[in-house]
């Protein structure tokens, strides 16, 4: 845990932390199907995490809770993949992963109804028994968290989650409608974002309080509000003000802002310099991480970005070479965590994931 948090403080630990984000890969590595992992007993999923950690030599500096099952039946808030809002498909094969079947379920004409009746208006019919069971699993998640944080001293990726209002709307309205609404009805979108942010922050505050995580990572989902999806102007008006509110609260509570930044963010890097001082991890996927080191490296800890194509289709040598480059450039002077871009592909070969770990151990040593 110390190694990880030293990097967050932009300092050099004994070596670069090795923290590829995993979820369905745990199932693959433990030889169980995605379905068993998501819908089976929680113990099965928790054991898959332990098995993966052990098989990779106990060298992982971070683990993740089996989050798919939480998305499926636990999340009444419209987090990206909540089963309350859209159907989820979970294959009964080893190496598969949960698929969120995105359907547009919210029209701008219904916004007034949402203000009156809330987002529960959009919930799908769900099997009550499964929802009850998942709610009860929260106790086991806390136990899981205690095992990793207090007994193994391995930090967890996160136990809280917040998503910016505009991005949440993309999942509910569907990308096509959402893009149209942003340009045609910016005021209405802003009004809705103002309505949503209060509830999203409230939910996150309770999650923080209930989990009382030692790692103190505050996950902020930043996937669909990047330069791959919106213009700088839209980012300035409909994302940045809300992001500032979120991080201000995290900073006041002493949390580390963990930005999960999928897709391409390079053209927006400068905006991050406007964020208040605090502790940050920018977990990058397809952005130029070397440029990030140049622009943001003296204020933000960087994490990433071995992408899923390389994980799945590359050779161990190619992966080790890319990791070496990452460590040499981004690891310079500390403030870097070796990780995956987004998460490890559910069907990534074992030896390719091991190559990331081996590279971290071989090239990431700061001092012996």
């Amino acid at each position: 845990m110390e190694r990880f948090h030293t990097a967050v403080k932009l300092k050099e630990a004994d070596r670069v932390p090795i923290a590829p984000l995993m979820d369905y890969y745990y199932a693959n590595c433990a030889g169980i199907t995605a379905k068993e992992y998501v819908f089976g007993d929680f113990k099965v999923a928790a054991n898959a995490v332990k098995t993966t950690y052990r098989r990779h030599g106990g060298d992982l500096d971070m683990v993740h809770i089996p989050i798919g099952r939480v998305y499926a039946y636990f999340e009444p808030f419209p987090a990206a993949h909540s089963g309350f809002y859209s159907p989820l498909q979970v294959p009964d094969t080893v190496g598969g992963s949960l698929q969120f079947l995105e359907e547009p379920i919210l029209d701008i004409a219904e916004f007034d109804l949402i203000y009156e009746e809330g987002f529960s208006r959009l919930w799908r019919p769900l099997p009550i028994e499964k929802v009850r069971r998942t709610q009860l699993e929260f106790l086991q998640i806390l136990k899981f968290m205690d095992y990793w944080e207090n007994r193994m001293h391995v930090p967890l990726y996160t136990l809280t989650a917040i998503i910016t209002p505009l991005e949440t709307l993309s999942y509910l309205c569907g990308i096509n409608r959402w893009s149209k609404y942003i340009h045609k009805y910016p005021e209405k979108m802003q009004e809705m974002c103002d309505f949503m942010i209060k509830g999203l922050i409230a939910n996150d505050l309770f999650l923080k309080k209930l989990s009382q995580s030692r790692s103190k990572h505050a996950y902020v989902c930043l996937e669909r509000v990047s330069s791959s999806f919106i213009s700088p102007k839209i980012f300035e008006e409909l994302v940045l003000p809300y992001l500032k509110q979120i991080v201000t609260i995290n900073n006041k509570l002493g949390y580390i802002n963990l930005f999960h930044m999928d897709t391409e963010w390079t053209p927006f890097f400068e905006y991050f310099l406007e964020l208040p001082k605090g502790r940050y991890i920018l977990h990058l996927e397809n952005s130029d991480i070397f440029k990030a080191k140049e622009i943001l490296g003296d204020r933000f800890c960087l994490m990433g970005n071995v992408n899923s194509t390389l994980q799945k289709l590359g050779t161990p040598k190619q992966i080790m070479d890319y990791c070496k480059k990452l460590i040499d450039i981004c690891g310079e002077g500390g403030g870097y965590i070796l990780g995956s871009g987004c998460e490890i592909a559910s069907d990534a070969p074992f030896e390719n994931v091991q190559a990331i770990i081996d590279a971290g151990k071989k090239y990431g040593v700061y001092r012996k």
């Binding site: 009444p76 009156e116 529960s120 769900l126 509830g199 409230a202 509110q245 006041k252």
Partner: protein
């Protein structure tokens, strides 16, 4: 940023009453009605799964719950449970019946 000052003060103290209200408005709306009565079937489920609850218990977990009780108090915890667990179940049942 006016909202921020209301929800959290300079020292990081959170206004949980406001947070609960925001949670309610977000999920159930400004005028949405919620049913926070625990139904017999739900109670039966928890009774049936009592062993699962016991299995999940550990010393750190109990101390976490006690710390929550101390910092949030019964009223806030109870209300949160009502909004995020009981009302969710009841709303789902209501929607399943198509009687929303």
């Amino acid at each position: 940023m006016i909202y921020l000052a209301e929800i959290i003060d300079e020292k990081g103290k959170i206004n949980y009453d406001l947070a609960l209200n925001n949670l309610k408005v977000f999920l159930y709306g400004r005028e949405g009605k919620i049913d926070t009565t625990m139904k017999y079937k739900d109670l039966r489920f928890y009774r049936r799964n009592f062993r699962l609850v016991l299995r999940s218990l550990s010393f750190p977990l109990v101390s976490k719950v006690l710390s929550l009780w101390r910092t949030l108090g019964y009223r806030v915890l109870h209300r949160y449970f009502q909004l995020n667990v009981i009302a969710v179940m009841n709303k789902l049942k209501e929607r399943a019946k198509g009687g929303e």
